[in-house]
Symmetry: C2
Subunit: 339 residues, 2 copies
């Protein structure tokens, strides 16, 4: 099928390309009659502007880039969902890339998006990202940038997060309030800010409530997944620690732990209470249903795009933009895995 161009319409109508272009864009200096004529012809021929040419002229692609550590993950796919929906509503398309928690890949992907000349970039950092020069590069190219969930405090851009420290504090407090005295923590890797913050919230909650912090009760879950939760729980059993509560950094890790407890005949919550983090959809379907912290992925996705849009608009209008940080609310979801 031969693509229809402005030239084609102009020839059919015996007028200039300029006038056709202006008529289709409703310029005020084109007569009503001409506009009607042009629009009719365009419709008849199923005219669609060549975006490649439009991009080149306007220096805009109406496309934004998104980098997440993992796509197959309830929280991130919820964020993706929110971003894609909000973007589509505003006439933007979203290119998705997955860093696989690798700094090296993430760096390459930011570069890819810069080369692609996307109108904006949204990113949640990989666990091992420390150096942020790739993000600065994007900003030097004048590409609006928004970080969500896994952020770096060092980069001066808009951010949307939850208060991980406070949320972890509340999760731990929930265990304390329900009578737990010896609370272990399954923590995430050492680098990511939210892993650090959740650990700090846990520690603070213990201290504020007269329980002493014991570093031997902190187990590492590098990838914060189901397998990590299993491993940590097995280690905890092997260590024969006197523990009556666990605050796990993610629901996945919590579920892994509960499976191990079940295999060992350890009852949840009678013998040990388990608290997750994220409110992953299936937390409610397992037995016992998992108590957790609700982390609003979809809302974070929509908010991420909205922040980006604000900045893209400001850029286009030539108005200086002050980065903003938005903090989303979380809350404790009490189910059956805690008393």
């Amino acid at each position: 099928m031969k693509e229809v161009t402005l030239k084609q319409i102009a020839e059919n109508l015996g007028i200039s390309i300029t006038t056709v272009s202006k008529a289709l864009k409703n310029y005020s200096d084109v007569s009503k009659k001409t506009k009607a004529l042009v629009k009719e012809e365009a419709k008849k021929l199923h005219y669609k502007p060549n975006v490649f040419a439009v991009n080149l002229r306007t220096k805009e692609s109406k496309t934004v880039g998104l980098i997440v550590p993992e796509i197959v993950h309830h929280f991130f796919s919820s964020v993706i969902n929110g971003i894609v929906e909000e973007a589509e509503r505003k006439g933007y398309l979203v290119i998705i890339l997955q860093s696989n928690e690798s700094y090296k890949l993430e760096r390459k992907q930011v570069d890819l998006l810069i080369s692609k000349r996307v109108d904006g970039i949204m990113i949640s950092l990989a666990n091992d990202t420390v150096d942020t020069s790739h993000l600065l590069e994007a900003m030097e190219h004048d590409i609006p940038l928004v970080m969500f969930d896994k952020i770096s405090k060092l980069v001066k851009c808009s951010k949307i997060i939850i208060n991980d420290r406070q949320a972890a504090y509340n999760a731990t407090k929930h265990l304390i309030d329900s009578g737990c005295k010896n609370i272990a923590h399954f923590r995430g890797a050492l680098l990511p800010q939210n892993s650090i913050d959740r650990f700090l919230g846990y520690k603070k909650a213990l201290e504020d409530h007269g329980l002493k912090y014991d570093s031997s009760l902190v187990y590492m879950c590098e990838r914060v997944d189901y397998e990590d939760g299993r491993r940590a729980a097995e280690q905890l059993i092997k260590d024969a620690k006197k523990v009556d509560g666990i605050f796990a950094i993610t629901d996945m890790a919590a579920v892994g732990a509960m499976t191990v407890f079940k295999e060992h005949g350890i009852k949840v919550p009678e013998d040990i209470s388990v608290m997750g983090f994220s409110n992953w959809f299936l937390s409610q379907a397992i037995t016992p249903a998992l108590s957790t912290i609700n982390q609003p992925g979809y809302e974070m996705g929509r908010g991420t795009f909205k922040l980006l849009r604000k900045e893209m608009k400001a850029k286009k209008a030539g108005i200086p933009f002050e980065p903003q940080t938005k903090v989303l609310e979380t809350f404790v979801v009490k189910r059956e895995s805690t008393k």
Copy 2:
């Protein structure tokens, strides 16, 4: 930051734009010396070609579009993952859109992708898609098209699927082999091909093994999700049917049903066996662990892009392309919810 162009490099070096362009693309008719000079200068200035201009000239965007019914879904996010990885490996970026199981939205999105002039489109159909004119339109625009998982037999394009009928047959047979005599089916909506095929596989397995098919044992799960599974199970209990096995169209529905059984003190698999479909990651973490059919999402994603690539290559080379259909293997995963 001022963007570097070929012109800039040419001026710095006192040579023509043509030569710079050719040098960077390693044309054989440029001297080694000039090439070296140009490449050095390009590197020094961090030259990146303006993709908008390249797109306009080459009529290629190196971008492909993907439409799925739902992003937040273990199977589809696995497919997305496979597609995005394979595409990136081949130098393509992926634009993602979600139809939300709506034909109307799907239609609009295909249109969007055509307007965007993507190099190819991959799609898994919405439940209520019957009319496929939007897909034909894409094909008329000469855009390579691949359908995966939820396909329409009426469209002549490449497809990648599993044998839903056979898989459902095997799932049902697994129940029969383990001693079930009265097997219910939680089916999906009436339109989607895979919902039909799974139903037919179920029916055929009964007939082949001397069990008579009873339409009152087929329950509708319109959205094939957790809530639907719950509703169907509650109805089944209310109907007081003599049932000792269920084949549910998805793991989600199966898990919903199991939750209801648990609430009613009905034991799985002692009182009733439950078979899911998909091998959703968390099937293994619930209690009892769910027996199911493994549906290879990641592989399907990679395969989808590979098929698309083949066709894009053929198109570029001007070679006629014969649509292909690829069928991926599935297998029964026996866990604890069946005997």
